[in-house]
Subunit: 187 residues, 2 copies
Amino acid sequence: MDDDQLKKHFEEIIALTNDEYEYIRSHFKRRIIKRKRYLLQAGDKVTNTFWVKKGLLVACYHDESGKEHVVQFAMENWWITDYPAYFSQGNATLSIESIEDCEVYALSFDDREKICKEFHKVEYFFRKKANSGYAALQRRMLSFLSDDIKGRYELLLKQYPALLQRVPKSIVASYLGVSRETLSRLH
Amino acid sequence: MDDDQLKKHFEEIIALTNDEYEYIRSHFKRRIIKRKRYLLQAGDKVTNTFWVKKGLLVACYHDESGKEHVVQFAMENWWITDYPAYFSQGNATLSIESIEDCEVYALSFDDREKICKEFHKVEYFFRKKANSGYAALQRRMLSFLSDDIKGRYELLLKQYPALLQRVPKSIVASYLGVSRETLSRLH
DNA sequence: CGCGCGATTGAGTAATTTCAAATCTAGTGG
DNA sequence: CCACTAGATTTGAAATTACTCAATCGCGCG
């Protein structure tokens, strides 16, 4: 019914027997969404985090004036949700929108805590994920502090060249914290 | 010889027997540093993360032009290191400097992994810490994307009022990503 | 062919930076 | 108690950068 891409994803960090994997897998709910749909909307209670099997999504914040600010991308094998809301089991500040048709696997907060309790190595897996996510976000933060727009764009280009092929420039601009016109004038 | 502030810190998240705590505690090395000293310098191999018992420090990046960019603060009960370098056991891009006289406890990467392996609940503790750190950093990132300088300053003021009493404004300005002159002109 | 969306370009405006100078403040020694 | 100094903060003015708004361009698709 489904290939073992999720299994491979876990096995990049921890070893799993088939039984263990099947058990873990049973806590995920498959979700198919079309391009340009909301997986999560600001205000919703955030119960799930999503592992992306296929497709591309963005987490963004809509400010009072209606402007959209891109907080996070997620493509294949990345995880996405409104983390501050997820961890505190509160309501979303962010929205998550699909840029392409997507296949994602939802894992609820409670189930995540449950499988972390049940398997020490799953706890380890998510600790490692959290650590690398933090490191990546800190690099982005540092780039905001010390690079000009061109430098930020080039870092993104270097780190995720594939992403820029798939995301409209206006959304890239928002991720970089500049207007689309300014991004367009870089060269 | 030392009070149990570190124990209390762990016990905000997990329960520990005295023996367990003493064992965990034995992996930390106490380090005293005076104001305006480097705990870590760019280029050093990063082996430790530091829990702050007393004092205040900043992690900052010195760019080619010599400008200083503040990536992180740490005061009592916070943790600080150059995380990207620590997790990859590489060399520091950041420096860590004390703003006040400090007492910190160093935990090496290897020891951290060791006690995480030995105690499931310690793994849990550090996963929770990583999660809340990530959420906080994402809030800061979002503030950079969607707030103007005044908004960013007010958020910092709201979240960490005590911090602003202890940190020179020029360093706060750097943390906010603006020149000290601009911060000074806010009112 | 024409529509619609994304990307680019132009021009004027607003915000921030830089550099320089002035002011304030806490600590020190007379 | 006062003068002095070093460091931090504030203020001023010019230069730079990015923004906004508007118009145009380019391209894929019905």
